[in-house]
């Protein structure tokens, strides 16, 4: 780390540049954008989970005040607008490809979940649009809804999609079935668990929105959209939906108020807005209300799993196997297929040296909202399975939980797991040791006795998690079925006056890239932090990028910047060599200054940048003018953040209410650019994981009605539900990228649910507890159990 840049360089908790506009109300979110002549879109949505559309009558709606037009699924089909797709091919055990149903942006003949859009009203105001939408008459033939994923494949279950029997999308597996079975046969102890990973609604605070505008003169479309990845949206909408060729479609993702994965996907609404804008030849804006978000944002998780762990007499893990049913909802969302397969099964080794693993996953359709990646995407599900199995096994075998973990931690690297992933670097014992100290586990027994005096049960739960992120090496994911590469791009533009703009293919929706990326550039070039701008989110500015998710912006996005900066340095040295009349090989660059080695001849950054563009010191034949370089960086491996979370709870025996009295997180993220921002990511992730474990759950009734359809019924974590967090770091740098970054965005959400449930089950003395562990659930469990004695 450069001595001159410690205040704003790598490792500094620099305050964020982006904050000024947010704290003064000057952010520009999609709904804030207003285009001349703008109309508003209001969708007509199915109130039924499963129904045939017999007819749809929009005539009355078309005549309502302020209505510009009312469009239906039949018209969408006539205009040959293509369907939405899932971009990751998964094959079943028998080699057959996954069964992807048709997913039109407006349903024409059949609706498959409550909220499925059948028509759109384009009106002058939202209020007029809503009034008109209410007059649209849809004649539905209601069908029985298939809601429970565990029953979707039953013989008697209605088939939702034509030609997709048993509502089965794929039957996938990973690992060595025979070796695993043999290990189980030889095991001294087997732990078995039935686990439901509860369905969640992401609920970013900014609802989704799309604003589409058609430029008649240029026959081109512009879409403002709450997207985590505008270029991917553009590609899918151009190449698959066929809305317009790529070069005639601009996608802008301005300020976006949270994503957590839910804003990765290409949704029907932006497709319809684009189509409608071209038809009515006026801009069309749609902003979701929260009720719509509950119904239509991709939900997360929703696995039903039977899992088993085989151990020898000494507590050494011999094998793990899991059978999972993954609910993907009514349609396959953009990345849905990958979440319960290559983002889940591949993490079932956890931090442990497990010789044999076998995992089977059946993905099914149900008449519920589509399910796709949500913070952690597959890894919270895997971690919950592994860490519950390990904790329960420890209890059953009478081995202290941290001791059992120690006996099984991977200690040498690189380590090839039986489930594709090869962990490159880590020190799991170091994180756990540090966490034990911070959490004062030694004093737990005393605290437990004090709680008991007060009529409370105190419990301690561990979660030693690992994840694969820094998504991802393109060839590797391509071989696993991904339809895209997962590299990242950076274009570094040095201006003549020495300021720098970095055009990144990443997108920030809370992660603070305008600050952290600038820290990197400022330190590397030795220029003031204020002189660096980060540009993202506009396909007219950034040529192509894959966006932000999967904790990839540091590991992949910043690596692209480093590579581009390497090229900048090479070219700048060439310019300096001409200026200083020296050989290129004699130029040294340090702290923003170019020096001829062994002399006091030097040139400042600003002079070199000016000379690059003024181009008086060299001919065009000797050197091209300009100072701008691009890199497309394809990672060579995933990265493997890992750590130890310790949750301490107090359960009220009378009410079953759980208070989290202490939370300790020690994470290894490799190199950390801005500790303040990294801690913030951990806090937010833990909050979402606690939400999953204690409070949240998307509930559909047997008719497929979303019962938990607003903040009234879906329990979002509030400030008083959560403790403050003790967050620490250990560091083993990632060997697979230039900065050694592993990534931190999802870790909190991945680690935490297991820690919470491990803690509560420790407190109440029974493993028979499902998420969310509401007061009612815990109280009920307590009625059937004897609490463990204080240590």
């Amino acid at each position: 780390m450069s001595a001159t840049s410690s205040a704003t360089g790598i490792g500094a908790s620099v305050r964020r540049k982006e904050d000024f506009r947010f704290i003064t109300g000057k952010g520009q979110y999609t709904d804030d954008v207003v285009r001349p002549g703008e109309t508003r879109a209001v969708f007509v949505r199915s109130p039924h989970a499963h129904a045939k559309i017999k007819s749809i009558d929009v005539n009355a709606a078309r005549k309502m005040p302020g209505v510009v037009d009312v469009l239906t699924g039949a018209q969408l089909a006539t205009d040959k607008i293509g369907n939405l797709i899932c971009g990751w091919m998964i094959h079943s055990k028998d080699g057959s490809p996954m069964k992807m149903s048709a997913h039109p942006a407006l349903a024409a003949s059949k609706v498959n979940c409550v909220g499925d859009a059948v028509a759109v009203v384009i009106a002058e105001t939202v209020a007029q649009g809503r009034d008109a939408a209410e007059t649209v008459k849809v004649d539905y033939e209601v069908l029985q809804a298939v809601v429970d994923p565990a029953k979707a494949q039953d013989k008697g279950a209605l088939q939702i999609h034509a030609d997709i029997p048993n509502n089965t999308i794929y039957q996938w597996h990973l690992g060595d079935q025979k070796a695993t079975a043999a290990a189980f046969a030889a095991a001294k102890h087997i732990t078995k668990l039935d686990i439901v990973n509860n369905r969640l609604v992401p609920n970013a605070m900014e609802p989704r929105a799309a604003l589409a505008e058609y430029d008649v003169g240029n026959d081109s479309l512009t879409l403002w959209n709450t997207s985590q990845n505008p270029h991917v949206s553009r590609l899918v909408i151009a190449a698959f939906v066929g809305m317009a060729p790529e070069h005639k479609l601009r996608v802008i993702a301005p300020d976006v108020g949270g994503g957590f994965g839910s804003k990765i996907f290409i949704y029907p609404e932006e497709v319809v807005c684009l189509w409608a804008a071209r038809k009515v030849q006026r801009p069309v804006k749609w902003t979701s209300d929260r009720s719509e978000a509950f119904l239509t944002d991709a939900h997360g998780r929703d696995h039903v799993t039977h899992a088993e762990l085989a151990l020898d007499a000494g507590g050494k893990i011999l094998a793990l196997r899991a059978k999972t049913i993954a609910n993907l909802g009514a349609y396959m969302s953009t990345f849905s297929s990958s979440v319960p397969t290559y983002l889940y099964g591949t993490l079932l080794s956890g931090q442990y040296d497990i010789p044999s693993i076998y995992c089977e996953v059946d993905a099914v359709y149900t008449n519920t909202a589509p399910v796709d990646a949500y913070r952690g995407a597959g890894r919270p599900e895997a971690t919950f399975v592994v860490e519950r199995l390990v904790e329960v096994a420890a209890r059953q075998m009478g081995i202290e939980p941290t001791e059992l973990r120690k006996r099984n931690f991977i200690k040498t690297f690189p380590h090839q797991t039986p489930v594709i992933m090869a962990y490159d670097a880590g020190d799991y014992l170091a994180s756990m040791k540090k966490a034990l100290e911070i959490a004062d586990v030694k004093g737990f027994g005393k605290r437990k006795r004090e709680s008991a005096h007060n009529g409370k049960l105190r419990g301690l739960g561990y979660s030693t998690y690992i994840e694969a992120c820094g998504i991802a090496p393109s060839q590797a994911v391509g071989s696993l079925g991904a339809g895209v590469g997962l590299w990242e791009s950076a274009e570094v533009r040095v201006n003549p006056t020495g300021s720098v703009e970095v055009l990144t293919g990443c997108h920030a929706h809370g992660q603070g890239h305008e600050t952290t990326f600038a820290q990197l550039v400022s330190e590397r070039l030795g220029i003031p932090f204020e002189n660096v701008s980060i540009v993202h989110g506009d396909t007219d500015k950034v040529q192509f990028g894959m966006g932000t998710y999967g904790s990839r912006s540091g590991a992949v996005g910043m690596s692209a910047i480093v590579k581009a900066l390497d090229k900048i340095e090479i070219k700048a040295k060439k310019v300096a060599a001409f200026m200083l009349e020296a050989a290129e090989g004699d130029i040294e660059f340090k702290d923003g200054k170019f020096t001829v080695a062994g002399t006091d001849k030097s040139a400042a950054w600003g002079d070199v940048s000016l000379n690059a563009y003024v181009a008086h010191k060299f001919t065009g034949a000797e050197l091209e003018p300009g100072l701008k370089e691009t890199s497309f960086y394809d990672p060579t491996n995933f990265t493997f953040p890992a750590g130890c979370h310790i949750c301490e709870v107090e359960v009220d025996i009378e009410t079953g209410k759980t208070d989290i009295v202490n939370w300790t997180a020690v994470d290894d993220f490799g190199t950390v650019i801005n500790p303040m921002i990294v801690e913030g990511q951990v806090h937010g992730g833990i909050a979402q994981g606690i939400g999953q474990a204690l409070l949240e759950g998307a509930v559909y009734d047997k008719d497929g009605q979303l019962v938990s359809g607003s903040f009234m019924d879906y329990s979002m974590p509030h400030a008083h539900d959560l403790p403050s967090f003790q967050v620490g770091l250990t560091e083993t740098k990632s060997p697979s990228n230039p900065l050694g970054i592993k990534g931190c965005g999802e870790a909190g959400a991945i680690a935490s649910p297991a820690a919470v449930i491990n803690a509560i089950t420790d407190a109440i003395g029974t493993e028979n507890l499902a998420m969310p562990a509401t007061a009612n659930a815990v109280w009920s469990a307590l009625q059937g159990a004897k609490p463990r004695q204080a240590a």
């Binding site: 709904d31 976006v256 929260r290 303040m676 806090h683 009234m712």
Partner: protein, 166 residues
């Protein structure tokens, strides 16, 4: 369409609204003050909090016409005319009390009301309880709590020239 008149951030404004137009819609669409946000439809998320006659109110749960003659302050009205930030705004930046920024205007306006009612020395428990009407999905509240405690303290110090917003 009925007309409504009120003072917003110190300036008199009028507009034609429907009876059913919410205050938040009037602010965002008629006045183009888009700093106040809509995050839910059940009056729970707090992204829409503004001050009406000195008291925090959820602008999604007030009709514009109900604010006839009222003094409304939004997030855009907090900083000094010369540009100096309010101590509570500064505290949010200093303590990383925001990530995506969407809940932030409502959080800051609600925080000011906590100070108005509970004073400048706010403990963690009080702040967490008082934030019942504000949801954040990004921060886990840890830094929001720190920011509000610090902002409240600084408001009492004359680190800011104003104690509360009228």
């Amino acid at each position: 369409m009925p007309a409504v008149s009120m003072t917003v951030n110190g300036k008199p404004v009028t507009g034609d609204v429907e009876a059913r137009t919410l205050l938040v819609q009037f602010l965002r669409e008629n006045l183009r003050l888009t700093g106040t946000h809509v995050g839910c439809d059940t009056s729970q998320c707090g992204a829409c909090v503004v001050h009406v006659d000195g008291i925090a109110a959820k602008s999604c749960t007030l009709l514009a016409l109900q604010c006839e003659g009222a003094k409304v302050t939004t997030i855009e009205g907090l900083a000094e005319p010369g540009g100096a930030l309010h101590p509570m705004q500064e505290a949010f930046r200093e303590h990383h009390g925001l990530q995506c920024g969407y809940c932030t205007p409502g959080m800051i306006m609600a925080a000011l009301d906590i100070v108005r009612r509970r004073g400048n020395e706010l403990d963690e428990h009080t702040i967490r309880e008082q934030l019942d009407g504000n949801i954040c999905r990004c921060t886990g509240y840890h830094n929001i709590v720190k920011a509000i405690a610090a902002g409240a303290k600084n408001m009492g110090k004359g680190g800011g020239s104003r104690q509360a917003v009228e």
